[in-house]
């Protein structure tokens, strides 16, 4: 957890539960952030990395601004997600896969690509639901709100060099 950029102040948690109470998707989480932090302290690594909580975090930062101890809860959720991807303990592979698919497109083109992302993600994980989402996609196309092809930045080589270097610097963690 110390790998979270900046001081995450996790040690300062007083278990007040303001985070879970503020969370828009708290009801869907198997462990609220408060419980996750207690589990981290108890050394329950596997239970933490198998939790759905980080994946249900919507990055709304309510917990972060309300935390009386100024713990960077949302940032910690990002760290937990990346650790969970490495550990491969979370039961529903589709949620990490969405993030990784998004990352793939960004690295390939320098820009995100909504049509590709939605199609690839749904084909792999919700092939039946895909047909149901077709009207939404067509509606986006009809309104000129979606590209059929991805956009590529000019200096993709530069971006690739930067990201490769950053990952090399990141990996020894």
């Amino acid at each position: 957890m110390a790998a979270t950029p900046g001081d995450n102040r996790l040690d300062h948690c007083i278990q007040c539960g303001t985070c879970g109470g503020s969370c828009p998707s708290g009801a869907e989480m198997d462990h609220t952030p408060r419980r996750l932090f207690a589990l981290i302290r108890a050394g329950e690594r596997d239970a933490v990395l198998a939790s759905n909580a980080p994946w249900y975090c919507v990055s709304c930062y309510y917990c972060t601004v309300r935390c009386p101890q100024d713990i960077r809860i949302t940032d910690l959720m990002y760290t937990l997600k990346s650790m969970a991807i490495e550990a491969g303990l979370f039961h529903d592979a589709s949620l990490p896969d969405f993030s990784e698919t998004f990352v793939d497109y960004v690295e390939k083109y320098g820009r995100s690509f909504e049509l590709g992302l939605a199609t690839r993600f749904n084909l792999r994980h919700h092939p039946i639901g895909l047909a149901g989402m077709a009207p939404l996609g067509l509606g986006m196309l009809k309104r000129g709100r979606m590209d059929l092809l991805p956009q590529r930045i000019d200096n993709l080589a530069q971006l690739t060099a930067i990201l490769d270097k950053a990952k090399a610097l990141e990996s020894p963690s």
């Binding site: 900046g6 990346s82 969405f98 998004f102 320098g110 820009r111 971006l159 930067i162 270097k165 610097l169």
Partner: protein, 321 residues
């Protein structure tokens, strides 16, 4: 005022009406925007979920490019909440964490770039309009006040939280956009959900969670008497507008709450034609709401969806609201 502009991926396409309406009103409010050349995606909320440091390097490239292209301004403006937050976050984190700054700069050096944290002022468009250009300057351009239009100002999450630079009056009940809409002649309604989450990426990866959040917001705006919701973020607009249709299908409800960008309402009040403001590209048509202020709005081809009858339909069920 002059500013560099980071449009972000969404504004290029799904939020094109946001960009078009911004272009339409830019001159009226004296906002000179110069697009950062060859910017890349900010990573949204996904890149950081996979790579902790590379996510900052991804954003760092944009900051470094902007810094090098800055010229006579140090303001870097973004219209999307996620883009704004990511740019601001990397700037703030690099500023406070010397190790991160060194690592990100080592990565940027591989592309011949370097970023000096604090050299740019990362700002959201609404912040510039309300706090730099100012309400008086906006008011001076109003030729068709939006009298009689009740609006729910919706800020979403990431512009007002965590708010690294303390730009807003409140993290949960901000008032800047309400004041702006009042200056345009509209009537901002009092509602409690103005900074509640639109569902973010849950609309794709966990729709049942997102639909609950979307219904709560749409219902809240309706209860408050709003004719439409006004937003400042492409993701919020997409979720509340396009996914409102899906949400209705999921809950067998029939909400019709249009969702427009604040720049579109500024354009209407400035007397611009609705079409030039991208009005008519929304899924839930704003035409009935805009008819109240005699604003002409292009017709929206509503996506008709057949409602599949469910076993409980025939029974008089008590309302859930």
């Amino acid at each position: 005022m002059k500013a560099l502009f980071y449009p972000g991926c969404a504004m290029q396409k799904n939020a094109r009406p946001y960009l078009d309406s911004l272009q339409a009103i830019r001159e009226d409010i004296g906002l000179e925007l110069r697009e950062v050349e060859d910017w890349n995606c900010c990573g949204a909320t996904e890149y950081m979920s996979v790579y902790r440091v590379a996510a900052h390097a991804l954003v760092g490239r944009n900051l470094a490019l902007a810094q090098d292209q800055a010229g006579d301004t140090r303001v870097l403006a973004a219209g999307c909440s996620a883009c704004y937050l990511n740019l601001a976050k990397t700037d703030a984190r690099m500023g406070e964490d010397a190790h991160l700054k060194a690592t990100v700069n080592e990565a940027l050096a591989a592309g011949g770039l370097e970023y000096r944290p604090g050299s740019l002022e990362v700002r959201h468009l609404l912040d510039l309009v309300c706090h730099d250009i100012g309400y008086e300057a906006v008011k001076a351009r109003v030729v068709k006040p939006l009298h009689g239009l009740k609006v729910a100002a919706y800020y979403g999450c990431q512009v007002v939280r965590p708010d690294y630079d303390g730009r807003w009056d409140d993290h949960e009940h901000p008032t800047a956009m309400d004041k702006l809409l009042a200056v345009l002649g509209a009537e901002p309604v009092d509602w409690a959900l103005k900074t509640q989450c639109c569902g973010g990426h849950m609309s794709v990866i966990g729709p049942e969670v997102a639909y609950g959040l979307i219904r709560r917001l749409v219902h809240g705006a309706q209860q408050a008497g709003a004719d439409l919701v006004v937003t400042l973020c492409p993701m919020c607009q997409l979720n509340l507008d396009a996914y409102q249709v899906e949400m209705n299908r999921h809950f067998h409800s029939d909400y019709r709450m249009p969702v427009l960008y604040f720049t579109q309402l500024m354009g209407l009040a400035f007397g611009k034609p609705a079409k030039a403001l991208g009005i008519g590209k929304e899924f839930v048509s704003a035409a009935p709401a805009l008819a109240r202020i005699q604003a002409e709005a292009p017709k929206v081809a509503e996506t008709k969806r057949k409602r599949r009858p469910k076993p409980g339909d025939a029974l008089p069920m008590p309302g859930m609201e």
